[in-house]
Symmetry: C2
Subunit: 176 residues, 2 copies
DNA sequence: GTAAATATTGCACACTGTGTATTATTATGC
DNA sequence: GCATAATAATACACAGTGTGCAATATTTAC
């Protein structure tokens, strides 16, 4: 929170670990006990979602896009997102391409999990396809979450709907 | 080249900017005149491809997946890839997750270009879909290039074929 | 062969990140 | 309450990153 505050107030250039530590009222050494770097402090755990108890996904034979949307949307329910904080984080990330990398790294971790589940469901001869589809899905998730953050009328449930809509729309384009 | 050499020989931990500079026979200051950081030195321009003269892509009404594969494959022809160097780079990246970020950053730049072209072709009401499809395509490119690097019998042209195959396979899964 | 343009380098400096030892703080049992 | 153990915070030293700037070397052009 301190990191985001400083970054929004003073810009990322002025957001030294020292400035964050002062804002948080701790020493810089303590800061590094909790975050590996300032990027991690700014991004926090806002986006990362852990996929657990997803046996149903592997077994299911329903429409795969809907299952993916459900899987990703379900991850969001674990610990509810803070819309105001997320908006601030998005603002900082948008203004600082440097942060984009680490944001992607977080999303990639989710993508990896999804990829594993997909490979189990589809079979290991579709490993490449699993990775591609996982990437596409997590990107659809990102788009949906960003849309959710910006629109106060959206519920968390509607994120699932949005993800499914995004994926279906892409599949329509691809299959034409 | 010096950066990759040192990274493979001594591991990324030991690959300080000083070590790279010594290997290259230059000062560290000169190193930083050419690369912003050691990650950039290791990755080089191996993957990045610039999309130019892609008017045909925007105008075309052919199968979009084939056009995408053609577009990406064409970018590879600009300056021919060095298979041996690429293999080394892939080895270093695989061994060091830290580098993964910067690799993705490079690929993202390509993705951005593709996204812009797609949005022009599909219309701005399909902006989200354009971004998703661009991401999927560049990821398919990465998979294909990695496969190419590992298989000496593959030609650069077959990368295009591979990309198209990957995309078609995914679309088949999505549309089922 | 000289002068201008360009490249390389040395140096100082602010910042990042980690290991280690020391000091606070908190928790626990009695 | 109080001594003690566990945990957290901090100070400090240090290796490394990256940049600005001025000085020096090298190349280019005429």
């Amino acid at each position: 929170m301190a990191a985001v505050t400083v970054a929004l107030r003073n810009g990322l250039d002025q957001t030294t670990t020292e400035a964050i530590a002062i804002e948080a009222g701790i020493s810089t050494r303590t800061f590094f006990n909790y975050y590996n770097n300032k990027q991690a402090a700014i991004l926090g755990e806002a986006i990362r979602l852990d996929i657990k108890g997803a046996g149903w996904f592997v077994e299911s034979s329903g429409p795969i896009l809907d299952d993916l949307a459900k899987l990703l949307g379900q991850g969001l329910h674990e610990d509810p997102l803070d819309r105001a904080l997320l908006l601030k984080i998005i603002a900082v990330v948008d203004a600082n391409p440097t942060l984009h990398d680490m944001f992607r790294t977080q999303v990639d971790e989710t993508s990896s999990s999804i990829s594993g589940l997909l490979e189990t469901r589809l079979g290991s001869d579709l490993a490449i396809e699993s990775r591609l589809l996982a990437e596409l899905s997590t990107r659809a998730l990102t788009e949906a979450v960003v849309a959710w953050a910006a629109d106060e009328t959206m519920t968390v449930d509607s994120v699932t709907v949005q993800i499914a809509a995004n994926l279906r729309s892409v599949s329509k384009i691809m299959c034409q």
